[in-house]
Symmetry: C2
DNA sequence: AATAGTTACTCTGCATGCAACCCGGAGCCG
DNA sequence: CGGCTCCGGGTTGCATGCAGAGTAACTATT
């Protein structure tokens, strides 16, 4: 199956940005980029508009686009927004739930996560599986709300890569106390699901918000060293002025 | 100043949709539309992509776009999302506030609204002013949070016209008990600002959410008769299957 | 030496032409 | 009489050519 030029352009361009090939602040010129991606300028322009709406690009006053730069505080706010939406989704899931089997999928997801922890320490080969299950948990949580409005806002919030629920998981491999953090996170997963199961909306909302706040902590840890930051998806979008990295220089 | 073709296309197309010239479900074809709007197909395609991201259009499987249709429940969810975001903004505004003069603008806005009510009943010529002040209040509320993430999500949520804070104000002119509803709303404005001023984040959040719920009530009132619904911006986007209107037919 | 003016160039934005695809209908065969 | 195939109109998606705006460099003048 041959993908449309528009889609390939958007996917490849997003890849370039997230991989850091186009660092934050870079001006994106159409002609060189169209040659680099192998697509014409017309579908590329469509893709540029898309990524602008996703928040990865910003329009320049004289025309054209540049890769966006995010300050630490903006990233924090994006993380909080994710927590806010997940909290609302959790509350709705708790309050709206119809049948008892509706939660079967997410229960299974949490059980599989538990199994992963029971096998001992999370080593590198398990990390991929953890990331997949973690993303699945959060996706099921959002879907469980049954609110298209929330789903849409959530997807848009995740367009910022470091706001994604698994953004810092890969980083945690060599963070101090990473195992403990992940135990806490898994405990929150279980409690969150428990709250939803018993229809405790307010508790579910509070837990989801608090769960997202783990990412705030991890972001500041990531900003402490260049090598840590490099593991973050979309690290090139973060404006390091005023961060601990910059202060040490 | 001559606007770009892309922008004019987007603005005029949105206007067509919201005015009901392109009712929900209509397929939008590029060529007739480009002639109707007086722009070429290239900038029009850009505008189509934009409106798709805004949620007013949906991509058809075989290519092309159609005007989206929203069910009552989807509209309700969109209203709740607005309340959620306003609640978060109110809480942040209460918790983050730096100087005391930061709230001067919104205090002035509420004072002007109070004046409007003190002059007696809100008649038609005052309604425009009320709408303007009401929108200003909500915009200041969001801006007061100082979170770009929330601002972005809010703007996207407002792309659905009936989710806007003033969507039902014009409707209230001939609703039963409209004056009382607006008194309640204004009381909520004052209480909300009071909570923010005193740094009461949780109270501010709860009030903002409850304030948005007035719109839920108004939506169901609007769905009760065709003539009421016609006053709603973007009424043509609402799927009336299963609504009281349909049941009466 | 600094600044203002000018010129040339690069880039974006737009229009149009072309090809591929999809949908509809008619005709043919089973 | 029904289903399948083939054909035609229409529509979308894409590439390219062109014009205008913005920019940067260079020169001339103060």
């Amino acid at each position: 199956m041959t993908l449309s030029q528009n889609l390939t352009a958007a996917l490849r361009l997003r890849e370039l940005i997230l991989d850091g090939d186009l660092p934050g602040g870079t001006r994106v010129s159409e002609i060189p980029l169209s040659e680099r991606l192998g697509v014409s300028r017309t579908p590329l322009r469509l893709a540029l508009g898309q990524l602008q709406h996703e928040g990865l690009l910003e329009a320049l006053p004289g025309g054209g686009f540049a890769v966006r730069l995010f300050t630490r505080d903006q990233v924090m706010d994006a993380i909080d927004l994710r927590g806010l939406l997940e909290g609302a989704a959790a509350r709705l899931a708790a309050e709206r739930r119809r049948g008892p089997d509706e939660l079967e999928a997410i229960h299974g997801c949490v059980r599989q996560l538990d199994l992963l922890f029971d096998t001992g320490r999370l080593e590198s080969e398990n990390f991929e599986r953890y990331v997949a299950l973690n993303e699945r948990f959060h996706a099921l949580l959002i879907a469980g709300a049954g609110s298209e409005a929330i789903t849409g806002a959530y997807e848009r919030a995740l367009a910022l890569p470091f706001a994604s629920p698994s953004a810092f998981v890969l980083l945690q491999a060599d963070l101090p106390g990473s195992q403990r953090t992940m135990y806490v996170a898994q405990r929150q997963h279980r409690d969150l699901l428990d709250a939803i199961t018993h229809g405790e909306g307010a508790r579910a909302e509070a837990l989801a918000r608090e769960h997202a706040r783990l990412a705030r902590e991890n972001l500041d840890l990531a900003l402490e060293s260049e090598e840590r930051l490099a593991r973050l998806p979309g690290a090139g979008l973060i404006d390091r002025a005023g961060s601990p990295l910059e202060d040490a220089a």
